[in-house]
């Protein structure tokens, strides 16, 4: 098994003399459960601390220990942070995958490998650096368990020497990673130094890859999307969390629990201003959220595809009974259990239309950790304003990997608690009818138990304006039409897309979520390599705002780029298109479980353009 999908030789091997500075990808292939995460984070942080833009992508198995795992770190002076299609520098620590990992490298790459694996005969067009890890680790500690854990830190030391990564930054990163565990720090520093010393004494630099200090990361933070979303939820004033563990969303609720414990205790009583319940399954998790939301709490859950399937029934209830709920879907790869630790954008249609009958739901589409933070807050406001379940579609790549970001800004907008009936409003509107469209925006007024306002009967069965059971045709149709009107109101409230026009339009690209980062790179490639200027619209929400149709109108043709097989967002767009718009839409899809890369987009777009011509 390999996760390097390079089958395409794009250029000849680079001459050795050339220096490639701050523009390459390092991949550490290890066995999971071997402590490689610490080594990889230290490597990532060191480069980040040197001021070089980085991104780190963990490709790990659905397993606790013993299976192959790959961690890819990309350094990019230009700031490209999507996955790089090719691996330039491989650290081959895993006997199971080493051979294939080496065979899939592009020519000109370099390999640090565990000496006994004897990889150097596999190819003549890559540089090999054998390192006797066991021998080196033997000089650091005699404890077998510790040896296993610090073994990987040795390759950080080797890379420090080979790639000119500052040892001082390595130590700083290690301290950041280890906290106050001085003994562990000393041990790991020993491993780092031993690796460095070995490389200095026994290896001759033959590859072109070098890290040089820059100033492009000053003031930035490194954070995972799930942690960012958790911070957003806390700032959004969440008071109820119902969840069920599932990869890759668990760390969202787990981070949230940590933050809430620390920052949401009542200062006087020490009691919690929130409740977090680990439910018996995703059905119950959303059921609890709906119960709490009905009661007036700001309630959320987070899950992934299989949980979304289970939540269908309650989502329909939330839609029809009009109860606010926030659902984070940190997307992984399906169908069914699929690839639980790989990334994709495969839940777009499922969430947009989740549940039977005529249902549709607002989706927020964060592309960055910053948007995980801001859209968490948007989601709670929208859910309460629209009195409906709102989905935030993150993905494994965004949720579980570290991304650079500016420190998040403190929210300036107060929480929007939506249309809650009070005595004054009741006087103005005369009579409380739970499902009456008083304001013409499809959003009725609601009361909650214990607020002293009139009660009503909430049900998932047919009901009239007064929330009474009804099977009357007019009651049913009027209600469904009002819900559709409410969805039109949602269109005016959701985050607008980001649009960049190139001239009159020309070739347009539409993407969303983490696909964005591949588009940033691909657009530069198209411009620099094929002289194609593209216009770009990054979707940030569903339902689509008017900017989307305007964009399609202005472009000659529009590629919708996404990480699923069935062009799911394209399908949603087509549902709203005029025939002329429909005819302009093209599709580029990427669904191998790994984050989409710019090169794949560029190649596929050029292919389709050639076919067009």
């Amino acid at each position: 098994m390999s996760v390097t999908d390079v089958a395409v030789q794009e250029s000849l091997p680079q001459p050795r003399a050339r220096r490639i500075v701050n523009d390459f990808a390092i991949q550490a292939a290890t066995v999971n459960g071997s402590g490689s995460q610490t080594a990889n984070m230290v490597l990532l942080r060191s480069i980040f601390q040197m001021g070089v833009p980085v991104s780190g992508k963990n490709m790990f198995p659905s397993n606790i220990a013993g299976l192959p795992t790959w961690y890819t770190i990309r350094a990019s002076a230009k700031g490209y942070i999507s996955r790089k299609k090719e691996v330039d520098f491989l650290v081959a620590m895993n006997p199971e995958t080493a051979k294939e990992d080496v065979l899939t490298l592009p020519a000109g790459a370099a390999v640090v490998y565990d000496e006994p694996l004897k990889l150097h005969d596999l190819r003549g067009d890559v540089v090999f650096y054998p390192v006797p890890f066991d021998k080196i680790v033997g000089t650091i500690t005699h404890d077998a368990k510790l040896r296993r854990l610090v073994r990987n830190m040795i390759y950080d030391g080797v890379l420090s020497r080979l790639l000119s990564i500052d040892m001082g930054q390595m130590e700083k990163a290690l301290r950041k990673q280890m906290g106050k565990k001085e003994k562990a720090i000393a041990l790991n520093m020993g491993a780092l130094k031993a690796g460095y010393d070995y490389a200095e004494a026994d290896l001759t630099k033959q590859d072109p890859f070098v890290v040089e200090p820059m100033n492009k990361t000053e003031g930035l933070i490194l954070i995972e999307g799930n942690a960012a979303a958790a911070i957003g939820c806390m700032m959004a004033g969440v008071t109820f969390v119902g969840w069920y563990p599932i990869t890759p969303s668990s760390s969202l609720c787990e981070s949230l629990i940590d933050y809430l414990k620390k920052y949401r205790k009542d200062p006087e009583t020490g009691k919690a201003t929130y409740a977090v319940i680990q439910a018996e399954d995703e059905i119950a998790a959303l059921g609890m959220v709906i119960g709490a939301g009905w009661m007036g709490a700001r309630a959320m859950t987070s899950t992934a595809g299989p949980g979304i399937s289970l939540m269908a029934e309650f989502t329909g209830l939330g839609y029809y009974a009009e109860v606010p709920a926030v659902i984070f879907d940190v997307q992984r790869v399906g169908p069914s259990t699929g690839l639980p630790t790989r990334t994709g954008q495969q839940d777009v249609l499922a969430t947009a239309m989740l549940s039977h009958g005529d249902t549709k739901h607002p989706l927020l589409l964060p592309a960055s950790v910053a948007e995980c933070y801001t859209m968490a807050m948007d989601a709670f406001d929208l859910a309460e304003r629209l009195q409906t379940p709102v989905f935030v579609l993150s993905d494994l790549d965004l949720g579980m990997n570290n991304w650079m970001a500016k420190p998040f800004e403190y929210p300036t907008k107060p929480h929007d608690r939506g249309k809650r009936l009070d005595a004054e409003t009741l006087k103005r509107i005369g009579e409380f009818a739970r499902y009456r469209d008083v304001d013409g925006d499809g959003i009725p007024y609601r009361t909650v138990p214990g607020d002293g306002m009139p009660a009503y009967f909430t049900r998932g069965s047919g009901h009239n304006e007064l929330a009474q059971y009804s099977e009357r045709a007019d009651d049913y149709a009027n209600n469904l039409d009002r819900l559709a009107r409410k969805f039109e109101t949602a269109r005016t409230l959701v985050p607008k897309p980001e649009v960049e026009m190139a001239g009159k339009g020309g070739i347009g690209l539409i993407a969303y979520g983490t696909t964005h980062w591949a588009i940033v790179e691909s657009r530069d490639q198209l411009k620099n390599e094929a002289q194609i200027e593209t216009s770009y619209l990054r979707l940030r929400a569903y339902p689509f705002t008017p900017e989307v149709a305007q964009f399609i109108d202005r472009c000659d043709r529009v590629y919708v780029i996404e990480q699923n097989r069935d062009a799911q967002m394209l399908s949603l767009l087509r549902m709203e298109c005029t025939p002329a718009q429909f005819a302009k839409l093209r599709s580029i899809r990427h669904y191998i479980g790994l984050p989409i890369d710019g090169r794949s987009v560029t190649m596929e777009l050029l292919n389709q353009e050639r076919a067009e011509a």
């Binding site: 806390m234 700032m235 409740a275 439910a279 018996e280 059905i283 007036g296």
Partner: protein
């Protein structure tokens, strides 16, 4: 479910309760269930119990799943918020709702299919958590709303009208609830109004999960010869474990009783339940004994009724959570959005 409030019976001599409300304040919509349905009798006892205890209906939430039983919340306490949820999922809705507002008094109405079949998973976890709620199963051993199929509480050998014999053993929801951690478990019969009302009032005064399995014959589909949930069968096989009397704290009555034959249980609010033994080996505060009694009576083809198990001082789920005294749902932004310094501190940790 009806859309028109029922005409209340004339209040004899302006009967009012301790908070000054008349019985009419506790009524709901007119029932749409079959005439003679056991569920209607249970509704009446619920109305009586809330009235007599003087509970403010606006502080109550009434929840249900799906099925004939689950229509019942529409027939009592019009001034309470109601939530007719989805099939078998009322426990999770209740859990979120009660946690979001700990001041609320929750009553959930379910059926034997809604609880024992589709909802057994959520039921199990509700019992485990000991959430403060009165959970009533209106148990008729069949699916009434879909025309009489067996439910998981149908007894072995019981027959459908068509003659089909049930060949699977029943789930005993009381035994299950005791095993799982519910702190108040009772079984009653819709045809025994006195006992049912006493149990309901006791349950409404208990903090924790009260699981009430009320056998409630389905007059349309399960009241024939061959059914073990018919009026006549249950009347003949009901084995009351005790005479249940309930003395609310506000009545301040000093009751005399013989500790040799009567078990007195004091609830957290000072109310008392007096259980005068009718059965041998009846020890309602002893879990093992309660389970043994259930198994023995079941083996004899009898329904042991009354308060089968009670653990008056068990910590409920709300206490366990350590949440603030005010409802979470109404906490102002000043208490739910941490200040700028907190965000700065968090951001610093990611540098």
């Amino acid at each position: 479910m009806s859309t028109t409030p029922a005409q209340p019976p004339a209040a004899p001599g302006k009967k009012i309760n301790r908070i000054g409300l008349e019985p009419v304040a506790y009524r709901g919509g007119k029932t749409t269930l079959c005439a003679g349905c056991g569920h209607n009798a249970i509704t009446e006892r619920i109305i009586d119990s809330f009235f007599e205890l003087g509970i403010d209906p606006t502080q109550v939430i009434k929840l249900s799943g799906i099925g004939c039983s689950s229509k019942a919340p529409a027939y009592f306490l019009n001034d309470a918020h109601g939530f007719n949820a989805v099939h078998g999922r009322m426990p999770s809705i209740s859990t979120g709702a009660v946690i979001a507002n700990r001041k609320t008094i929750a009553i959930g109405i379910s059926g034997d299919g809604d609880t024992g079949a589709i909802g057994i998973g959520q039921f199990v976890h509700l019992m485990r958590r000991n959430l403060p709620i009165v959970y009533v199963i209106e148990d008729n051993g069949c699916y009434g709303l879909t025309k009489g199929q067996f439910s998981p509480t149908a007894d072995l050998g019981s027959t459908l009208k068509s003659g089909v014999v049930n060949d699977l053993p029943p789930i005993d929801t009381c035994a299950l609830a005791i095993e799982l951690g519910a702190s108040f478990v009772a079984r009653s019969f819709s045809g025994d109004p006195k006992q049912l009302k006493a149990i309901l009032k006791a349950a409404l005064s208990h903090r924790g999960t009260c699981m009430l399995d009320v056998i409630s014959p389905c007059v349309t589909f399960n009241d024939h010869e061959g059914s073990t949930k018919s009026y006549s069968y249950v009347k003949d096989h009901e084995e009351p474990l005790s005479d249940v009397s309930f003395v609310p704290y506000f009545e301040g009555i000093d009751v005399e009783y013989n500790p040799g034959t009567t078990t007195a249980v004091t609830l957290h609010n000072g109310s008392k339940i007096l259980l005068s033994k009718l059965a041998e080996d009846y020890h309602p505060t002893d879990k093992m004994s309660a389970l043994r009694l259930l198994h023995e009576t079941t083996a004899r083809g009898e329904y042991a009724t009354g308060i089968i198990y009670i653990e008056p001082d068990k910590q409920d789920f709300i206490d366990l959570l350590g949440i603030v005294d005010e409802p979470l749902a109404s906490l102002p932004e000043s208490r739910t959005r941490p200040g700028k310094a907190v965000l700065n501190e968090i951001m610093e940790s990611f540098r």
